[in-house]
Symmetry: C2
Subunit: 506 residues, 2 copies
């Protein structure tokens, strides 16, 4: 910034106003503040906020004078963290420069194709916090749709890799596993990782917390071991045990993806380009070389038809080849939840039951995990083609997988048993019949109302999957909660939504 | 809403929190509030807020407990006005239902075409405040681009007309005039309307305030007469004088347009579909039958090339035909500002100078106004083809146009002279030369820093348009301001931006 431009700015005192605006940084100024009046700023203006060489773009909200002093600026939680200021620090405000890379978004909207340099510029600006939420929405919309341009998907993936940290493991083969998502209870990672690591392969797994679901893999893992590891600690765990299951948010791999997802999710667009870039960029940044990708296909899953799965697989394979990643896509049944538990601890208990070879372990979860682990083992060269699944089964049956899981947990900071909810309420069949369908969305909602994922032991335990024949009075599912208020809240929800399980009379 | 759904909601006390979030309604809840905890709500959640049969969708911002009581909800200014509550009213919160019409936006993104019923549903939801800003951005992006689908443009126009008030004048011919915008100082409406009305035609003109520019037609008109008229008062003025120039924001014509523009403008997309729908829906809703449309074409105008102008004209003509509107597009020079003043009162003074046949009246503004008025007169049948401009010239020269303008002002509530700024500062040429170019954007910015449009007499008065030969010390332009602080602010801006007028040495 030139000296002249420095003169052209305003200095105010920073205050953390205590407003959570989610991802978007927002700055609050009193309507009579000199800076607002002289700059002619109004709500929605984009303001450049800088402090000690750090600079962010924030969206302005003008507030009544009683909320703020005239010489101070309130910062939303996101702005506060991004700028790294302390209470009372003096910050400098100026007009945010127009976001240059938006011209590539416009070019795409007008039907042109965007060069790799354009996608690089866009992703760089996104990571630097230069895109407002509506600009992000425009970017996502412009590049959404079912027909991916392979070159654009590749360029976006590369740009996402290049704008974050990248791990190197000093080994020729690093295995990984990913699920494109959308299926409640599908916690195979907690089983696949220890099996693959027990096989002598390296599998540094980063996972996410729930955003709209009752639990993410990171939430479930957190009920048995610490997951917020630094990059150094993650490296130490993987070097010692060959694998880890940590929270990806703590290690800054492909950070553009997290920002894009924060706006993409509420829009609920299916975008092959963004899905491919999101998955492959994270894996490549994590240093993986061989990745098995679980694609559940079903009417309410993320991928709904086999044609869509084929299109996704085609683009994914194209991009993977060009960034030096070997992938195998495994299409799985996406028609109903996996396992019994919905909620962090309940899902961890399902996975532990499988690892412990418990008699009541959910077979569907075990079989899916073994199939994925088998592919990973073959890809990593630890078993010949066709023999991976049997090898995985051996490692599970022998207790080697459980021992490896316990060792990984110990290395991550110590293993514990998942908590058990103090309060439960079991919902019983009001008549005899067969479970014909399950409303997964409403079941997940009941789990969230009961407290998941914030309350780790809360959620829903399903006793009767599709096809189960039940008698009157037989348990259908059990609510788990940590407080009476939350249990009552979930109960009230069930009273107004009585048909979450469709019980067909015989 | 069913009784069951009623049970499933939370009632809290409304408080106007004093935060201006621009157009988007935002609701603030304390992080420990029972409703936040039990609903599992986090920032960015969409919440349905209802009060006495009225219901809006708002975006949630979670705040620290010190900002709000646990049993109250803070409402942003937009939410407060939209819901029409009073301090302490009890309001009901529940999860906002998913916006059904977004599936049509998704269909468009996936390459499908959207039926008229889909665009109707989208526009209805937008008017009802069901679209968040990111959803609006997705809609705008999906339908943007230079190649309009005629059927979609028509359906969007019809939907915009049908979701607002519509005026009927009981006459077969209602004339109107519109400029697609982008040119500072282009205040022809203040001249065209009285000429056309003096001709015996009916021209009920609604105009807009500045959003990002130093003045809109409504701002300029407001310096000489009241413009915030009710629909009834507007009707009374038009019935008496044959014309009016009022603020369109006070009469609810095609309200979807205002909402869409609030997000479209920061994105800065050129969208033929939306431009056509925006212009024609407002005019049809105002009851117009014959409209002359000013399309300035120039490198920094909204329409940049004659090809773009032709495409716009084609779609506009197609849609106009199908909604029973007769239009004539007039392509005009869009390369530099019109008249001398930039700012509400300064622009009104230019228009008054023309109406008063003053010797120093800006010829460019007069000639443009006469050309447009001539077309309007011919379209309205008050002069044969080719004779409209001469008729307009007569009405201006004879003082009939001025008399009609004064009568319109009187009918709108009384005419006054535009205010004169108490403080001015004239910038002089530092050397002899010729004005080679003018940075309109920076000149407009200086006018805004001097106080325009909030301070009506503030702005910039240009003395040397492109091509003017000046001597050292000759005035280039004059800053006008109402306070020393604002004048100083504009001055400081000029010090760091000295080359707004490009003065080529001879």
């Amino acid at each position: 910034m030139s000296r002249a431009a420095h003169q052209w700015s305003d200095i105010v005192r920073a205050r953390r106003i205590g407003i959570d605006t989610y991802r978007e940084p927002v700055i609050f100024l009193a309507q009579s503040s000199p800076v607002c009046r002289s700059e002619g700023w109004e709500s929605q203006a984009r303001v450049d906020v800088s402090h000690e060489g750090r600079s962010i773009a924030a969206t302005l909200s003008v507030v009544t004078d009683s909320l703020l002093e005239l010489d101070e600026a309130g910062l939303s939680d996101a702005a506060w963290k991004l700028l790294g200021v302390h209470e009372g620090d003096m910050i400098r405000l100026s007009h945010a420069a127009p976001v240059e890379s938006l011209r590539f978004v416009r070019a795409k909207v007008y039907g042109g194709s965007v060069p790799a340099s354009g996608l690089e510029a866009i992703v760089r600006d996104i990571v630097d916090g230069r895109y407002s939420d509506i600009e992000l929405a425009a970017f996502i919309t412009a590049f959404a749709g079912p027909h991916a341009d392979g070159a654009e998907a590749l360029a976006l993936t590369r740009a996402m890799i290049d704008t974050g940290e990248r791990l190197y493991w000093g080994k020729p083969t690093i295995v990984d596993k990913h699920c494109v998502g959308g299926l409640p209870g599908n916690r195979t990672s907690l089983i696949v990782v220890p099996i693959v690591a027990a096989c002598g392969l390296t599998i540094p797994k980063t996972s996410s917390r729930a955003i709209t679901s009752p639990a993410g893999t990171a939430d479930a893992m957190e009920t048995v071991a610490p997951i917020e590891l630094s990059l150094d600690d993650m490296r130490r765990v993987v070097e010692r045990e060959g694998g880890c299951i940590v929270w990806g948010g703590a290690v800054k791999l492909a950070p553009a993806d997290d920002i894009i997802i924060s706006v993409e999710r509420p829009l609920d667009f299916d975008s092959v380009t963004q899905l491919v870039a999101s998955v492959l960029a994270k894996k490549a940044a994590a240093g993986s070389t061989h990745v098995v990708i679980d694609v559940p296909v079903g009417p309410t899953a993320k991928v709904r038809t086999s044609e869509a799965a084929a299109a996704l697989e085609g683009t994914m394979t194209h991009v993977a080849q060009h960034i030096g990643l070997s992938i195998r896509v495994s299409r799985t049944d996406g028609s109903q939840p996996v396992g019994r538990g919905i909620g962090p601890a309940l899902e961890a208990r399902d996975a532990l039951a499988v690892l412990r070879n418990a008699a009541n372990a959910p077979a569907d979860l075990r079989d899916r995990a073994l199939a994925l682990a088998g592919i990973a083992i073959e890809m990593g060269g630890a078993a010949p083609a066709g023999a991976g699944c049997a090898r995985a089964r051996e490692l599970l049956a022998s207790g080697a997988a459980l021992a490896k899981f316990e060792a990984i947990c110990a290395a991550q900071g110590g293993m514990r048993e998942p908590p058990v909810a103090p309060l439960t309420d079991t919902i019983q069949a009001t008549h005899a019949g067969t479970i014909a369908a399950i409303d997964n969305r409403r079941l997940a909602r009941a789990a969230k109302l009961a407290g998941a994922p914030r309350a780790p032991s809360a959620g829903v335990e399903l006793h009767a999957p599709i096809g189960t024949r039940v008698e009157r009075g037989q348990p259908l599912f059990t609510l788990h909660a940590e407080t009476p208020g939350e249990l009552d809240y979930a109960r009230r929800y069930l009273r107004v939504n009585p048909h979450i399980l469709d019980l067909e009379e015989r």
